[in-house]
Symmetry: C2
Subunit: 350 residues, 2 copies
């Protein structure tokens, strides 16, 4: 890997940042829906909510409730109170981020709302790490959520229509994941191995002209490709630098496209690539077609599974790349393409 130069700049290559004092993940929490709880990762989530409405009256309120519980659980696991979190960075898939606005308001933490479709957890951790490492905050929370029924209503059809889904369609994950990031000196309470955020690569909007909202994996794969390639170039590393290269929700269709695009540039990630959308559901028994998706997909896979593997030392260094499809009901109805974006976060066991 390239060394940072004498000026100790954090700016590396064209799009990447390497932190001089990598911030640390103080705690993480996840809440998942019933279907996610029945999937291969089910036992790893902190909480499973069996009721799709989470005791509320609407899908949107249900999603807000999941987000609130994930935030509270992350606080509880870290032994912190909401007043200990200086800023919260959060977002969701719904228009005008209403799951977030109504979910975390009562925590009374100053908030930066963000939107990157399903890449939002990557963006939240990026901004959160920057706030901590730059000395702008001691502790921050990065949080995202998604809800199957809310997302179908938002982007496609209300569930009651019973419309059929093509095999290229993904299944929006119901769940919320939260991560508390702090200065390395703020050691986790339980003295487990520290996981630090070593750096990030902030992605560009990438538009290959695809127009199918039922094939988001294909729409997002080029964005994942560009960000991963740029990360390798900026840092001067090969795929083997990472134990795992983990995309957010490309699913089965997008995974193959990503691997092929990188192969054309002589990067072979076929041996160490993983996709949260593929891991979260059982393809054969859960009828989720291309795999899971949504801001919550990569967030709960990170909080429940990826961080656990790092803590236990199964993996030492991971490139985590949540991927987003930048469409809306309006842009789709007006015949626009579906641009993608992906932000990469380098996680390392210290």
């Amino acid at each position: 890997m390239q060394q940072q130069d004498n000026n100790q700049t954090k700016m590396v290559g064209k799009q990447s940042i390497l932190f001089l004092k990598p911030p640390c993940i103080l705690s993480a929490a996840s809440i998942a829906g019933k279907k996610e709880g029945e999937g291969p990762l089910g036992s790893l989530f902190d909480m499973i909510e069996e009721d799709p409405l989470a005791g509320k009256k609407t899908w949107e309120e249900a999603e807000s409730e999941l987000m609130k519980r994930a935030a509270q659980k992350a606080l509880e696991k870290s032994g912190l109170a909401s007043m200990d979190i200086r800023y919260l960075i959060g977002g969701d898939l719904l228009g005008q981020l209403i799951a977030t606005s109504f979910g975390i308001g009562e925590l009374e933490i100053p908030m930066l709302g963000i939107y990157g479709a399903c890449s939002t957890m990557g963006e939240a951790i990026t901004i959160g790490s920057i706030l901590v490492e730059g000395g702008f905050a001691d502790r921050v929370m990065a949080i995202t959520s998604s809800h199957f029924a809310g997302a179908e209503k938002q982007f496609r059809f209300p569930l009651d229509y019973g419309n059929q889904r093509p095999y290229s369609a993904s299944w929006t994950v119901t769940g919320s994941g939260a991560v508390i990031i702090g200065d390395q000196s703020l050691t986790p309470k339980d003295n487990q191995a520290q996981i630090v955020i070593k750096g990030v690569t902030i992605g560009k909007i990438v538009d290959y002209g695809l127009k199918d909202s039922m094939n988001m994996g294909a729409a997002m794969a080029p964005a994942a490709f560009e960000t991963i390639k740029q990360n390798f170039e900026d840092l001067g590393v090969e795929p083997s630098y990472y134990d795992k290269i983990i995309t957010g929700d490309l699913g089965y269709v997008g995974k193959n496209i990503l691997i092929d695009l990188l192969k054309e540039k002589n990067y072979d990630i076929s041996g160490n690539h993983m996709d949260c959308g593929i891991e979260i559901f059982d393809k054969d028994n859960q009828d989720t077609h291309a795999g899971g998706s949504g801001c919550g997909c990569s967030a709960i896979t990170l909080a429940g599974y990826i961080l656990k593997q790092l803590r236990e030392g199964t993996w030492k260094r991971v490139l985590f790349i949540p991927t987003g499809a930048l469409l809306s009901q309006v842009s789709f109805n007006e015949g626009n393409s579906v641009p993608g974006i992906a932000h990469a976060v380098i996680l390392e066991r210290s």
Copy 2:
């Protein structure tokens, strides 16, 4: 004002940041619609687009086009190319930020998408300044937009319905404003007085339970109040510390509420308060009721008017507080309240 302590922390009080090396505004650009061009600030905008569709087929594409032109103008005025901008921080009012996603994609600048309703320009400058001051980027662009027809379609009714608007309703500004922020060493090309971003106060979600989407000034005033009060407390200053305290789009209704709320806390801002939504239209002759609103409102007032007053020395120090109403069509239809949020930026002539 309180001095920063010996540890040179940037964290001040509960929610504020004071930069040790305040970043500088390298250039700013604005594009406005026909109505805004006919308003009191019309002559100050860089460009006026007379065609509400800006030569495009849909309101959303028109807004994207305005954003692209504002970005290009800001680059042109600074003598920079898009590759000189390390990161772009941008957002708009539309669901899933589609004006932004389709507006600035072709600039190929790595992007962080954000959503804070009409407070978005405050959030964009906040994150942009943090990136620059923390050494994560040399130059960034903060950009937002809004479009009257797109916003009416998104939040209320399509224009063709010809629905009547109550006097408490605001008029969404058609326009886009962009600001390029850089390290102070990157002196503006024309050697004008430097304007620096001295600090920021990141706001909380504030919900007083108001439910009227046609009275957003009243919904946002409490958020502006909380952020301004916190800024005073965190910095240990009185309202007179600022030559102007400029809110985003409270309009006539919200302005009075804000002044009253602050008076109850013994802060009198009646002498130096200004609201972009009030300044941008001529109340008597433009039939805009409570005033202008939208992400574009504070953005073009900043780029066209506020920065000019600072450059010319009319004002030396300004607190700029774009204000956002966190509602969506869905949250409104489901009978939810309209929470508000406001982020404050301290601008100073060096």
